[in-house]
């Protein structure tokens, strides 16, 4: 069964079409790149997956369950199994690196011992162990994005949504972030990455879904895209 599926999903913001009759399925363990210019509907698809927004018509499912029909509890559970990385990092400014990651575990009720084990582990994965007590404002853009990745993966989500994760980074940091995402995918997590950066798409060389004006223009498993 697919982990995420869109079936004729359409979304409007006023008169503007954000997603038009979008249909595709993503299986568990895949690494899929959503590619398209700004305003092509990439972020909207993520919002539909997270249940932040509802569809105008069509269905978006997670593990076969219609997200729009989920109860509040089901939606919380769905979000707990989904890690999110934002282009603007969205770290909590008054918390340290450790706290930014641990609070994601605390919110889910993990005990202290597990938190003390797992946070250093994910910090090692993103190579930020040495910044553990720094506040997020004290970090560079690349470091902040790596903290955001650590926060997104610390609860070992089945699905990881990365919305323009390299958008605010220089090429070196962008390359590092892509490598981390590939590594996470290799560990079994399904990764959906949204980007408008052709160099990122070329580096990944996996399935690419091209979006143009909210519609799926191409869905190619060999990494072809239209930009």
């Amino acid at each position: 069964m697919s982990i995420v599926s869109f079936d004729g999903a359409t979304k409007y913001y006023g008169d503007t079409v954000a997603a038009q009759d979008v249909s595709f399925e993503i299986d568990g363990g895949e690494l899929v790149t959503l590619v398209g210019h700004s305003g092509s509907g990439k972020s909207t698809l993520f919002k539909l997956i997270l249940g932040e927004e509802g569809v105008y018509s069509g269905v978006v499912c997670r593990g076969g369950v219609d997200i729009a029909g989920m109860s509040k509890r089901e939606l919380i559970e769905h979000r707990r199994k989904t890690g999110v990385i934002f282009q603007d990092f969205r770290l909590l400014p008054r918390k340290t690196v450790y706290e930014n990651i641990s609070f994601a575990m605390e919110a889910l009720g993990y005990d202290e011992k597990q938190i003390e084990n797992d946070v250093p582990y994910v910090l090692d994965l993103v190579d930020l162990r040495h910044k553990v007590w720094a506040f997020s404002q004290e970090l560079s853009g690349g470091e902040q994005q790596r903290v955001a990745i650590a926060r997104a993966i610390v609860n070992q989500p089945e699905l990881l949504l990365a919305d323009e994760p390299t958008g605010n980074l220089d090429p070196v940091n962008a390359h590092e972030v892509i490598n981390i995402l590939k590594q996470i995918n290799k560990l079994g997590t399904t990764v959906i990455l949204a980007t408008h950066d052709q160099s990122v798409v070329k580096k990944i060389k996996k399935r690419v879904i091209t979006l143009v004006n909210g519609e799926v223009a191409l869905d190619d498993s060999k990494g072809k895209y239209i930009l």
Partner: protein, 308 residues
């Protein structure tokens, strides 16, 4: 919600207050000023209450008895008066006590005292001072007094004079002023409390508005509503608590400083004596109000970001 989770949310609330020090300072400042106004209003209201009580006590109807009325007859009359539901208290002053009071009042005036000595008889009449339950009860008490033949065993006139009529206008006006002043004080206090609550509510709403992104992120990672909300409630409670303590502390010098002026103006107790005698009640009221407003404002302000 487990113990660890409760501990975490309280810790997060405390950390928010400490790390967000400038914002916390601003909220606590507003909270302190608001609670100070409330506390001052309560103290001043107490002064006003006592003044109105004192004025009310001064308003009475006095019935003067014919000079040779036997004391037993006056007592019987007093007993009947005390049975009236409109009567709060009846005070008997005999001829002798009236004379003594007069002498004492004029002890520094030898001419008057000499004049009294010349008189062979006691010129004062026995009297009953009657206090009504409410200012509107005076009329019916006076009607009762006029109806002297209710004393079945002595149908003759015993009441020489009722001074309510002489003072009626003043008494009624005073009663009305006293009532209005008391009501006005209560209304002003209620209004100040309301305004303070609105100010505090809005500043807390603003702070939570500034944290809306944080709330959004917490929701997206799957935090439950209570886990997101409780730290804000804790912070709100801390703002209220600290604000109430500071307001109580600042009331000390202000009430001490204003006390002599208030004492002089109202001829009663000053603000400071109320501050001291009602200290624990004041702390309790301000703390409960501050903590409640802080928590309630935070609850309402977070609600809009937690609604789907």
């Amino acid at each position: 919600m487990g113990g660890t989770q409760i501990k975490r949310t309280f810790y997060l609330g405390l950390v928010n207050v400490v790390r967000n020090s400038f914002v916390s300072f601003s909220v606590i400042f507003v909270m302190t000023v608001s609670l100070f106004i409330v506390g001052f209003s309560l103290l001043f209201g107490q002064v006003m209450n006592d003044v109105t009580e004192e004025l009310r006590d001064k308003v009475d109807v006095t019935a003067y008895f014919v000079t040779d009325t036997p004391e037993g007859q006056i007592f019987a009359f007093r007993d009947r008066l005390e049975e009236l539901s409109q009567v709060q208290e009846v005070l008997y002053v005999s001829q002798e006590i009236a004379l003594e009071e007069y002498r004492k009042r004029h002890e520094n005036d030898p001419d008057i005292l000499h004049g009294l000595d010349i008189l062979e008889d006691n010129p004062f009449r026995a009297r009953l001072s009657i206090r009504a339950q409410q200012s509107g009860d005076f009329e019916s008490i006076v009607r009762f007094l006029q109806n002297e033949d209710i004393l079945s065993d002595n149908p003759t006139t015993v009441i020489d004079k009722i001074d309510f009529y002489q003072n009626r206008q003043v008494i009624m006006r005073l009663a009305s002023v006293v009532g209005t002043a008391s009501l006005l004080t209560r209304v002003i206090i209620a209004l100040l409390i309301f305004i303070s609550c609105i100010i505090v509510f809005n500043i807390i709403r603003l702070i939570i508005y500034l944290s809306r992104e944080e709330i959004k992120v917490m929701r997206l990672i799957g935090a439950e509503d209570w886990y997101i909300r409780v730290p804000f409630l804790v912070s709100g409670g801390i703002y209220g608590f600290v604000g109430s303590i500071l307001a109580t502390v600042f009331l000390y010098p202000i009430s001490y400083w204003l006390s002599p002026a208030v004492e002089r103006f109202f001829e009663g107790q000053g603000l400071f004596s109320y501050y001291v005698s009602e200290f624990f009640m004041l702390v309790l009221i301000l703390t409960v109000l501050g903590v409640f407003v802080g928590i309630f404002s935070s609850y309402l302000s977070t609600q809009r970001y937690l609604d789907d």
